[in-house]
Amino acid sequence: MSAEGILSDIKVLEIAHAASGAFCAKLLADQGADTIKIEPPGGDEARHEPPFIDGEPHPDRSTTFLALNTGKRSVTLNLEEAAGRALFLKLAADADVVIESFQPGRLSGIGLGFDVLRARNPKAIVLSITWFGQTGPYAHYKGDDLIAQAMGGFLYAVTGTADKPPMGTTLQQMELTAGRNGAIAIMAALLARDESGEGTHIDLSVMEAAIATPSMLVQNYSYLGKSPRRGAFDKFVMDGMHLPTKDGEVTLTTAGTGGRPMEAWAEFLGEPRLLDPKFATRASRNDHWEELRDLVVPKLKEWNNLDLMRETMARGLVIGLVQSPTQVVESPHLEARGYFVELEHPEVGTLKYPGPGFMLDGANPMQTTRAAPRLGEHNEEILGRLR
């Protein structure tokens, strides 16, 4: 593939202040889109999110900001002032994509609504990515990722166990899911624009992204007549439980056992008592799950994670090592794949960044990207030529 990236003929303007829009723009930027992040003079909110590389708060050292803003250039503009708005409109005049996450109505309120952008630039694809979408009774509600997990059904039904209150997950996953959906929608709009020559306005809701993701909720309810609830796998020793090993944890599966899971695992672990008929079916294993766990765990504790992975793989068994982020960073497999890309940053030095998850013609497309910009790093370069 070209060294420039697939989207190098596309200009993106991001005026988002949440992870959803930032991640969406990053996905495009890492594929070569010329992406300008417009920040308020004090910087994007994520710049002030802990933790910070080297500890002390610093606008260029937030790990959240660094991770979600690769490939972009940064410009600070005060959209509360007419001069800032005028500069924004100049930038928008030749943008292909504008990603914004203001409360519905807020951009119109300061004279930068979709109609204004469209008048300036009929080809612009505007993605509005908000907690609850542009319409409906919740349109003006406030949100954050936990609220999206709650209102999207994720908290009640997905993470967590049956015997405890709902528990969510981490690192703004509902926002990231919304961001990925946004990238899909933008690609569709770009392909449609090739034919129509016209831009469009996309309305994306983080709450709806959350619902569409643990997707079994609605149709399950409709077919089975009851709301799915968290904890369905709580007693699945062979198929879901986290179990200790010598140096970590693992989750087993019954996959790859040719429909004879207990035979396969009894042989692999060297524990013939697993062949007891009381463990023969999933239902009977659940009835005796504590006893089963107490047979399996001592055997697993004889294994180091990486050895266990290698040997189960050789026999076609499927397991999941519960890896820490450190183990992921140090993974020999990912190293061999060339998955992480080292990017240099003047404030935090060189760090390895995750790739997008796909290799194109054998190459990691992240290789052409750059580390997140410092606050206002490109003011002169970009605004200088507009003045």
Binding site: P50, A67, K164
Partner: protein, 425 residues
């Protein structure tokens, strides 16, 4: 099988992928979820199925948990992503005649996708290089657990094992508690979304360069891309704690009990103004005036005690009423919704997010896509019965005569129902 759906109301004027043809050898969840986006956008997605492997059609869920007489066409998930807006070609590609037909189709297709383990496509003679010889502009995508290269390439996965191996499970759990899986299928969805994104990128590039592409997509790597900040932190010795529903610096930021069984509300406070507003709504209780709650840092430091006080206040209240009341005062709050709440939710109704289709003997509800674009219908317009499109695809795409098609059916290379000995799930 066609569902009337809402397309009668908003027949899509915009089909960005009209004219694009996708052949997909797909099973289970991640890849079908990804190709469904392309089908929604107007691509002709031909799902190749096999009577040898009917797991997806056995997976349900079925109405009231009971498979009906035509169980292989009735599962709920088939309509949501398995055959959503796709065609079904039930073709045995392991037989020589089936393989010939497959390669004839490849000649007239734009994209071929699969989610076999690495090696299977090559064994079938369907690896990228072989397909590119038949069709030099072909885009191929293989969606696998760990990618085509590297020491773990041969390992299989389930979405929940990806959740653990990518680092997500390690970061998830109650404060001070053990690691916990974030989801049984979040990684399927993230991977599927990544499939759609990668394929759209490849189509975009081909429009400009005329070149095909080989995409090697990894579920594990998609998972790691979901925890970027923690990956950077790990390289500099910063340990990210498990926090349950708590937050690294916001407090209150948790769920609190409400009236009724297993009813909860999430409340999150980011700054002093929101805290002041919350205090006022709570009736300015004496405890809330304690100096230790005056700053963001103080509230976070004393968050457990703070959570107990707030829980006492929320416990007798109705979750949705409290949510409306808090939001009307500018406080970030959301009821912990169950599926039954979602299908009844006024906001989602007004946004027409939930779609009703006629299926499996009655009206069935499905969540929609989270984005809306004028003219573009991402609704479920139809689902495909097993082998429903055998004849149409073989005739119109592969150019076979009705005699040739009849011969394939007689030889069992194509079929449109399970074999007689197949048992209902």
């Amino acid at each position: 099988m066609w569902g009337p759906g809402p397309e009668g109301r908003s027949m899509s004027a915009l089909l960005p992928l009209k004219g694009i043809r996708v052949l997909t050898l797909e099973q289970v969840h991640a890849l079908p979820w990804g190709t469904a986006f392309l089908a929604d956008m107007g691509a002709q997605v031909i799902r190749i199925e096999s009577v040898e492997h009917l797991q997806d059609r056995k997976a349900g869920p079925f109405v009231n948990g009971k498979p009906g007489p035509e169980w292989w066409n009735e599962g709920a998930n088939l309509a949501y992503f398995g055959t959503r807006n796709k065609q079904s070609l039930c073709l045995d590609v392991t037989k020589p005649a089936g393989k010939d037909v497959f390669l004839k189709l490849v000649k007239h297709c734009d994209i071929v996708t699969d989610n076999f383990r690495p090696g299977t496509m090559q064994r079938l003679g369907f690896d990228h290089e072989s397909l590119a010889r038949v069709n030099p502009r072909i885009i191929t995508l293989s969606s696998t657990a760990f990618g085509y290269t590297g020491p773990w390439a041969k390992a299989g996965s389930r979405a929940r094992t990806v959740d653990s191996v990518c680092g997500m499970s390690y970061l998830t759990g109650f404060e001070g508690g053990p690691s916990q899986r974030a989801s049984n299928n979040y990684m399927d969805h993230s991977t599927g979304n990544n499939v759609a994104f990668a394929l759209l990128l490849a189509l975009y590039r081909r429009k400009r360069t005329g070149k095909g592409m080989r995409i090697d997509l990894s579920m594990q790597e998609t998972g790691v891309s979901c925890i970027g900040p923690a990956i950077l932190e790990a390289q500099r010795g910063i340990a990210r704690p498990r926090l349950g529903c708590s937050h690294l610096w916001k407090a209150p930021h948790n769920i609190y009990p409400c009236a009724g069984a297993d009813r909860w509300i999430a409340i999150t406070v980011s700054n002093d103004a929101e805290w002041a507003a919350l205090k006022q709504i709570m009736g300015s209780p004496a405890w809330a005036d304690d100096a230790k709650y005056r700053s963001v840092e103080g509230r976070h430091q004393h968050r457990h005690e703070l959570d107990r006080h707030i829980a006492e206040w929320t416990a007798p209240q109705e979750d949705k009423t409290l949510m409306r009341s808090l939001q009307s005062q500018g406080i970030c709050a959301g009821a912990v919704m169950q599926a039954a709440d979602l299908v009844d939710d006024a906001h989602l109704k007004q946004r027409e997010f939930i779609q009703t289709i006629q299926r499996a003997g009655g009206p069935r509800l499905y969540a929609g896509r989270p984005f809306r674009m004028p003219g573009l219908s991402m609704a479920i317009r139809r689902t495909a019965d097993l082998g429903e499109h055998n004849e149409a695809v073989l005739r119109d795409v592969a150019g076979l005569s009705s005699t040739e098609i009849a011969a394939l059916a007689a030889d069992g290379v194509i079929s449109n129902r399970p074999r007689p000995e197949e048992k209902a799930p």
